[in-house]
Amino acid sequence: MKRVPITGGKMVLTPDEQAIETKHLGFTISPHEECGVEEAVRIVESQGGEVVVLTLGPPEAEEQLRECMALGADRAIHLVSGEEWDAQATASALVDAIRGEEPFDLIVLGNESADAGNYQVGIRVAYALGLPVVTGLKGLTVADGRARCEQEVATGRDVYDVALPAVITVKEGLNLPRYPSVPAKLRANRKPVDARPVERPAPKLEKLRLVVPEGSRKQAEILGEGAAAAPRVVEVMQQLGVA
């Protein structure tokens, strides 16, 4: 699970162009991963077991670990580093932590993180652990030591069937995450977080700077105010050939 900023209407960069200016922003769990945590919690609620959440992130990421535990995860491992890691280094740090948790049945990641969107951490984790991997799941059934995985494609859904333990990456829409109750949030504050400092290796894909693409800021034609605008709207629809 990764902590990401809630950016709202506009992307503003820090003066050194290394990051999004987050002084005035809130943070959240990357959306695909929120569904991943929810799914893991549902599996454990119906079949027993334990859900452990793992993040590599700054000290403040504890906030998102607590949110995950309010969703129902039992405990957390926090690899603490204030720097941004590239995908290869992220995967190997996660793998080191996962090895300490063997045996496990399922490793769940997001398909791509909201901010960096490298589409690869889950696949790299799977190779390092020597496990099968299926990505981009919108449907999952776990039973009898196997996972039936549904991946959304243009023509519907492709189905994969893999033996556990396995690595899966999921997409938002897999489920509708619950709103944690107040007691669940209070319980989450008492659940254990195992914080471990980690050192970032030299990046192989090195970020030089971020750029906000030239805005396609448009000057909208105002068709009117309130219901009185309806005739103009219909005229425009007719011009566009969609009415």
């Binding site: 189905v159 971020l210 800021r217």
Partner: protein, 278 residues
């Protein structure tokens, strides 16, 4: 210098990847028949590539196969690249609302071409078909047809009537449904709406939802967050209906109507019916 380009087919994105490959050196294009098996396909690509750069389309499958290639070779992989200058690349982040300039510390480049960043290649397509060994590898075992209930799909609709928090409730979408049906279009929504359970996630437009490219996108009671715009910037024209004349959505709109969507949408529907009755 040479590059091996993985093509999903003769589709637009694959031909764009081919252009990126051609800009790097001698190109060899490969593709696959048979069931999708990302790990096995990646292995076949690695074996065929020698020490060439490996390029793919910035599609779900392109990114997935390249990530497998990267994991097998333990090399860095830059996804969704828009430009290459030596070992430096520009790539898109945050679903396209932000770009990143990055340096690849590796002799070999593994890249996918960001959608629509390159013109499709016009060279005659002669892709070699690789035959991967599927032995025990993860592969597609079944397919489920989409359950669209006979309606126009969001991704293909010519008109999308999309609602946000301003719609106010699940029942509030009735007036959007009515207009969409009249226009033979589909209903979309923002993430606030799906998180509230007013609409299913399949209706969500945006970075973590569906990307749409209709002739007309009607955004009703949607503020215009970057993650929402990431899903509808492909629309030819955008009409925004919002009560707040300062709303960000107006900066992305071609047409604006200021006011309460609960009055405006029924008025548009009535006007359309009237126009058609003539």
């Amino acid at each position: 210098m040479s590059a091996l380009v993985f093509l999903e087919g003769a589709d637009e994105l694959s031909l764009q990847a081919l252009t990126l490959g051609e800009s790097l050196g001698d190109v060899r294009a490969v593709r696959f028949d048979g069931p999708y098996a990302p790990a096995a396909w990646a292995k076949a690509i690695v074996d065929a590539a020698g020490d060439a750069d490996i390029i793919g389309p910035g599609s779900d499958r392109g990114n997935e196969v390249l990530a497998h290639v990267a994991a097998q070779l333990d090399l860095p992989f830059a996804a969704n690249v828009t430009e290459v200058r030596g070992n430096d690349v520009t790539r898109i982040r945050w679903g396209g609302t932000l770009q990143e300039e990055a340096r690849i510390h590796s002799e070999r480049k593994l890249l996918t071409a960001a959608p629509f960043a390159f013109a499709p290649s016009s060279s005659p397509l002669q892709a070699e078909v690789l035959s991967p060994s599927l032995d025990g590898s993860v592969t597609v075992v079944d397919q489920v047809a989409p359950d669209s209930g006979g309606k126009v799909s969001l991704a293909d609709a010519k008109v999308v009537v999309s609602g946000g928090r301003g719609v106010g409730s699940s029942e509030g979408f009735a007036i959007l449904e009515e207009l969409a049906e009249l226009l033979d279009g589909a209903v979309g929504c923002s993430r606030v709406v799906t998180s509230a359970g007013w609409r299913p996630h399949a209706d969500q437009v945006g970075q973590t939802g569906t990307k749409v490219s209709p002739d007309l996108y009607i955004a009703c009671g949607i503020s215009g967050a970057t993650q929402h715009i990431a899903g509808c910037k492909g629309a030819k024209k955008l009409l925004a209906i919002n009560a707040d004349r300062e709303a960000t959505i107006f900066a992305h709109a071609d047409y604006a109507v200021v006011g309460d969507l609960h009055e405006i949408l029924p008025a548009i529907t009535a006007e359309l019916r009237k126009a058609r009755a003539v």
